[in-house]
């Protein structure tokens, strides 16, 4: 009976892929995309996941987990596997798997989907699983600690610095995505502003008025949030209130910067923690709703399977399909950041070793499915709408009519009247050049939701989707700022001890300000960038995230080799080799390409030439050129750090394999579990 189900899943996957592969020139239903993905996941989980769990790592249910041995009722808590699956999924899923596929849809839906589905099976889920396994066998140690203990102190330090730098880029690009979706949108700005007093109210409720009633406070928070969403429509329609909440991108950017600083220095219970709960509820609820909606509606995919932009001439971001589809879609296929989560709270909660396969490998398959849904939602829009929303203003010209000429020139049908109607139906003044993917996804989701659940309420569903994205992106921004602050304080503590005291207020304020200034700088530069900012920041984020993944895979391989499993090391070496190829090619092109759309240095030169020719003001030109050179320097720094980590790791593997160094993994010794069965 069960084998029949496996066969059915395999057939669904094979059927989905063959429809996608064979249909040329006719529209395909999103249902086939979903069938292909789910069929592949099921087969991969059953066979490759099991191979990793039993043969490669040898999970042992008789071995007590850290949650059992170190149980303290607080962070080391044995947790049921499905509950922990939800917990881990809620921690790893964020804006990355939603935004990346939307941007990559400029190549058509097929290249991105293939990478999302096969990338996760071979690379992303393997990374998450192996790091979770390694951390579980080491009392829940963090990635940085494992890098130091297993590979060496230099690697550990480099990993720390790399994580901090990546965090700064990540926060900047995510904040930019929110900024672009909220600019000149009174409805969106009002709703998101409301989340702050709502969170503070929840915070006081849980901490002061009715301590411990977290569920009660969250229920109230969610209700108020939905009220704010409905209220936003009324605000946007009011001639008095609407101008108060209509902010240009620059003001929104400064608002987010101020918010990030406040959230980092205020007590956690007041703002950060209640917002975290709110956004988790919204995230799980909305992703579930999207899955149901997509399956009910299974819209036709209007985007071609492959567009002409695979040659690198695409307006959304520059660069050919290789390597840039693999950079643009980071989370969803593989995300280095997950290694931090898989070596954070989750390994301290595993009740049995055997659960690690579902949590590590399975939850990442689920995240990949979120990315497939985002791709389906974007590809279900007609390509004209997609490009009008995602190409920068510099390419489209200032009006819908000028955009129409450009988009028709690319060979896609586009009707200005339809676009105006769409803009009005979602209650916005303009949808043109809303780069960053969030608004596109919101339109796609609003289409699906209003078809599946709520006839015609496009505006409400659109702003619901915007609120959902902005809410959890801003939660990442404030939580990330705080984590960055702690990491910086730890580093500074080596210089002058008092700076390392996280409870010393002046040190906290200074460290928070430094972190906020770091990402705030890139955010503001992204806002004033004539090409929309996403253009240069998103690839930088993708490269840094993938390079963090190579560091994680180095740690994973070292752990396997030292555990005497060198013959299985290919499971991590294979994705490592692929990621190195992809990221180094992309970095090379981003820094050195003579095409100013692609290469940072060429962009700097071209900008300065424009200034000399009087086509650009000196002030803006110098800023853009400086920023492009800074991006180039950062990219080279990431590459250098990764190279050192890879070289040191490979040397370590060879020493162990040749027997010059004992193959001794630093695992916590075996203790038999007290759990029955």
């Amino acid at each position: 009976m069960t084998s029949l189900l496996w066969v059915l899943a395999a057939l669904a996957g094979a059927g989905g892929w063959s429809v996608l592969a064979l249909a040329r020139g006719e529209t395909v239903s999103a249902g086939w995309l979903i069938a292909a993905a789910i069929g592949t996941y099921v087969v991969a989980y059953r066979f490759y996941g099991r191979f990793l769990a039993t043969r490669v790592t040898g999970l042992d249910d008789r071995r007590a987990t850290p949650a059992e041995r170190l149980a303290n009722g607080r962070d080391y808590v044995p947790t049921g596997k499905w509950v922990l699956f939800g917990h881990h999924f809620a921690a790893i899923a964020g804006a990355g798997p939603l935004v990346g596929p939307v941007l990559a849809a400029q190549f058509g839906y097929l290249p991105g989907t293939i990478w999302i589905v096969f990338g996760v099976v071979i690379a992303g889920a393997v990374q998450d699983y192996v790091i979770l396994f390694a951390s579980m066998r080491r009392d829940g140690k963090s990635l940085g600690r494992m890098a130091r203990d297993e590979i060496g102190p230099v690697t550990g330090m480099l990993a720390m610095v790399a994580i901090l730098a990546i965090m700064v880029i990540l926060l900047a690009v995510l904040a930019l995505v929110v900024t672009r979706s909220l600019a000149e949108s009174p409805w969106g700005v009002f709703t998101i502003l409301c989340t702050i007093p709502i969170a503070i109210l929840m915070g006081f409720w849980m901490e002061r008025w009715r301590p411990g009633r977290t569920l009660e406070a969250s229920a109230i928070g969610v209700l108020l949030l939905l009220a704010a969403l409905v209220g936003g429509r009324w605000v946007a329609a009011s001639p008095v209130l609407a101008p108060l909440f209509t902010w240009p991108a620059k003001s929104i950017a400064w608002g987010i910067i101020g918010y990030g600083f406040l959230a980092s220095v205020l007590p956690v219970w007041m703002l950060l923690c209640p917002r975290d709960y709110l956004s988790t509820f919204m995230k799980i609820g909305t992703i579930g709703l999207l899955a149901v909606g997509l399956i009910l509606v299974h819209p036709p995919l209007q985007m071609p399977a492959v567009t002409q932009f695979i040659d690198g001439s695409g307006p959304v971001f520059a660069g050919r399909v290789f390597p840039f589809v693999f950079i643009t879609i980071a989370c969803g296929a593989i995300s280095g950041f997950h290694a931090l989560i898989a070596s954070g709270t989750t390994p301290k909660m595993l009740r049995r070793e055997g659960d690690a396969r579902l949590i590590g490998y399975g939850a990442m398959l689920m995240e990949s499915f979120v990315a497939v849904m985002a791709m389906a939602a974007a590809a279900a829009l007609d390509p004209g709408t997609y490009f009008a929303m995602n190409a920068p203003l510099a390419a489209l010209g200032g009006s819908v009519e000028s955009a129409a000429a450009v988009i028709q020139g690319w060979g896609f049908a586009f009707s200005p009247a339809d676009f105006h109607a769409l803009t009005a139906s979602v209650g916005e003044q303009s949808l043109l050049a809303r780069t960053g993917g969030a608004a596109t996804l919101a339109v796609g989701m609003a289409h699906i939701f209003s078809t599946a659940f709520g006839g015609g309420l496009m505006g409400l569903w659109y702003h619901f989707a915007i609120m959902f994205e902005a809410l959890f992106i801003l939660t990442t921004v404030d939580a990330g700022t705080r984590v960055g602050r702690f990491m910086l304080q730890e580093l500074l503590g080596h210089v002058w001890a008092p700076l390392g005291r996280t409870s010393w207020y002046p040190s906290s304020v200074v460290a928070s300000a430094v972190i906020v200034a770091g990402w705030g700088y890139f955010l503001v530069q992204g806002v004033i960038d004539p090409n929309g900012g996403i253009n240069s920041l998103w690839p930088l984020f993708g490269i840094s995230n993938q390079l963090l993944a190579t560091v994680a895979l180095c740690v994973g391989t070292t752990v396997l080799v030292k555990a005497g499993k060198a013959r299985f090391a290919w499971v991590t070496v294979l994705p490592l080799a692929w990621l190195l190829t992809v990221t180094f090619t992309a970095s090379w092109q981003k820094v050195l390409s003579p095409d100013p759309r692609l290469g940072f240095l060429a962009l700097a030169d071209r900008t300065m030439a424009k200034v000399s020719a009087g086509e650009m003001t000196a002030e803006l030109g110098h800023q853009v050129a400086f920023n492009a050179r800074l991006d180039a320097a950062l990219t080279m720094m990431f590459v250098a750090v990764t190279l050192i980590v890879v070289v040191v790791s490979v040397r370590e593997w060879l020493l162990v394999i040749r027997g010059r160094k004992p193959a001794s993994a630093q695992e916590t010794p075996f203790v038999e579990t007290a759990y029955a069965g």
């Binding site: 009722g73 947790t79 990355g96 301590p211 995300s335 997950h338 954070g344 939580a479």
Partner: protein, 90 residues
Amino acid sequence: MRGESSVGSRQSADSRELSAVDSLTTDDSRLTTLLRTVGRVIRQVTGMPDYGAYLGHHRRCHPGHPPLGEREFFADYLRARYADGPNRCC
């Protein structure tokens, strides 16, 4: 989550919320058990502190030592959760 649903301490927020319905019939107490389980699952998935579970753990593993008060436990929990490293991803 074996055994943890039997947490019956007076100090637990859950049991305080439920003490009013203790005297009702068996069907109702089955419902309250279900509600309590649902509440616990939601707390664990979203990463909320669970004082009841902590008390249960404390009674089992450190009998004789006084447990942390509810406020102290929350403060401790939040410190561990938001200082240790990233707990939310991109």
